[in-house]
């Protein structure tokens, strides 16, 4: 198996997950609590990557991050090279592509938090930020685990976005799923089998982490996907 591809995939998934959680936590909290009129639009937009073919997303990102658009040119001016066909470009693509997998479980988890508990915390003197940190977040912890695992695994398994946006540069954009595709193209089924098995085992362990944790917690609501 391609160890370099494995390490790159893990690095990509880890970076993507961290960025996703940082964005998704406040957004999901807002989605779960807000009565704003723009909420449905924001919710739909954040779920869009669920339905969008990954190649479509990859294609638009490729065009947008390349030198043909003003956004792309501005980015090139700032960082010195195009984001397309680079690790950073993959991170941008992965964050967008896995976005719903972090936001949706978190929003569902926050929605399941008893509003009365949040009000009680306020009546005991907790500021809104303290209520979030000391009550909402711990109560939605199973959802947080689900969101992190799903975002991570979804990034590990992505193919279309990577292929469109990153190509196949060893050490920079060649992830496990690309390596698998490559092996098959070269009729190297043994190598393909090893990579596929590794990916499958990986996914199983991730799901085990979610369901095992859920069981130990006595069936607390975990915030399911969609």
């Amino acid at each position: 198996m391609d160890i370099q591809a494995l390490l790159l995939t893990l690095r990509l998934a880890a970076v993507t997950t961290l960025i996703l959680l940082a964005i998704a936590l406040p957004l999901a909290w807002w989605l779960a609590r807000s009565a704003s009129r723009v909420r449905p639009a924001v919710e739909a937009l954040s779920a869009l990557p669920l339905l969008l073919p990954p190649t479509v997303l990859g294609f638009y990102l490729l065009v947008m991050l390349g030198p043909e658009t003003s956004i792309g040119r501005a980015l090139i001016a700032v960082i010195g090279h195009p984001l397309a066909f680079s690790f950073s470009g993959l991170v941008v693509g992965s964050v967008l592509y896995s976005f719903p997998f972090a936001v949706q479980p978190l929003a569902a988890g926050f929605r399941a938090v008893d509003a009365a508990a949040l009000e009680d915390a306020a009546m005991l003197g907790a500021s809104p930020a303290q209520v979030f940190r000391s009550v909402a977040l711990p109560m939605a912890r199973p959802a947080l685990v689900t969101a992190a695992v799903l975002a991570f695994m979804h990034t590990v398994g992505e193919f279309g976005v990577v292929l469109m946006l990153g190509g196949n540069i060893p050490g920079a954009t060649r992830t496990l799923s690309i390596a698998l595709y490559d092996s098959v193209q070269e009729f190297d089924y043994t190598s393909a089998n090893h990579t596929a098995l590794a990916l499958m085992a990986f996914s199983f362990v991730a799901l085990l982490a979610i369901y095992g944790g859920r069981n130990m917690r006595g069936g607390q609501s975990g915030g399911r996907l969609v």
Partner: protein, 252 residues
């Protein structure tokens, strides 16, 4: 788990003045005529809002806590405006120093009983333990809240609400559905708390009920509500005698 109120700068008012003045107009549908339209002042150490379900009792308590912001509302407590829509004054709920126990109240499921009670007192376990003792619940301290019975839950809720020494205690039918023995035990705990407090720091109590027997048991000042209006206010015996017609309706 760390508690919450450590750095919160509480609103402080006069110690001997315990008056609460409320004036509010509120409709549950935007644009409709106000379904709640009332104006009253409380000066007794214990007052009761009494009226049939749907009279607006819980809404009034939520307006006092600031958890609800009515269309037009003024809440003056100890001479200080907590809410005044006319002057754009609104003190955030967590800075009001008000304790609340309602039927909706929920113990934090991720914390033990003791951790729940010390949530509002910066993790002060001694204080939390003392509060639990007051409500004969010290033995529950290490329990998970999921393991509590309904009565035990109610004891812990009261202990938790009183731990931060609120300046005003609001009770929204916290004894509903509890048997007489338990109810009088909880009331004793509450009276115990009120009496061992420094007399200079009176904590007025405002409770809500639609249960006639509770009104007499409390021996409090009564405000009778019906359909969002104040019908009468005064001593329990006098007021309730005059409101016989409504009482009959409630009893049916």
């Amino acid at each position: 788990m760390a508690g919450a109120t450590c750095a919160a700068a509480r609103v402080e008012g006069g110690l001997s003045d315990i008056s609460l003045k409320l004036r509010m107009q509120h409709s549950f549908r935007a644009g409709a005529a106000p379904q709640l339209d009332l104006n009253f002042a409380l000066t007794a150490p214990w007052s009761v809002l009494f009226g049939p379900s749907g009279a607006g009792k819980s809404t009034i308590l939520r307006a006092i806590t600031g958890l609800l912001r009515p269309q037009a509302c003024r809440v003056i407590f100890r001479g200080e405006a907590l809410t005044d829509t006319a002057q754009n004054i609104f003190v955030a709920p967590h800075l009001r120093g008000i304790g609340l126990v309602s039927q909706r109240s929920a113990l934090f499921p991720h914390l033990t009983v003791l951790e729940n009670v010390r949530y509002g007192v910066c993790g002060d376990s001694n204080r939390a333990q003392a509060m639990l003792e007051l409500f004969h619940a010290a033995h529950l301290a290490a329990r998970r809240v999921q393991e509590l019975s309904g009565g035990e839950r109610q004891r812990v809720l009261l202990a938790r609400a009183l731990a931060p020494a609120p300046r005003l205690l609001l009770l929204d039918e916290p004894f509903a559905g509890l048997d007489i023995t338990l109810r009088s035990e909880l009331l004793d705990g509450l009276r115990g708390y009120l009496s061992f407090k420094n007399p200079g720091q009176l904590m007025p109590v405002l409770s809500v009920t639609h249960d006639v027997s509770e009104v007499f048991a409390l021996d409090a000042d009564v405000i009778v509500l019906d359909a969002g209006r104040v019908k009468d206010q005064g001593d329990a015996r006098t007021v309730l005698a005059e409101q016989r017609e409504m009482m009959l309706r409630i009893l049916q």
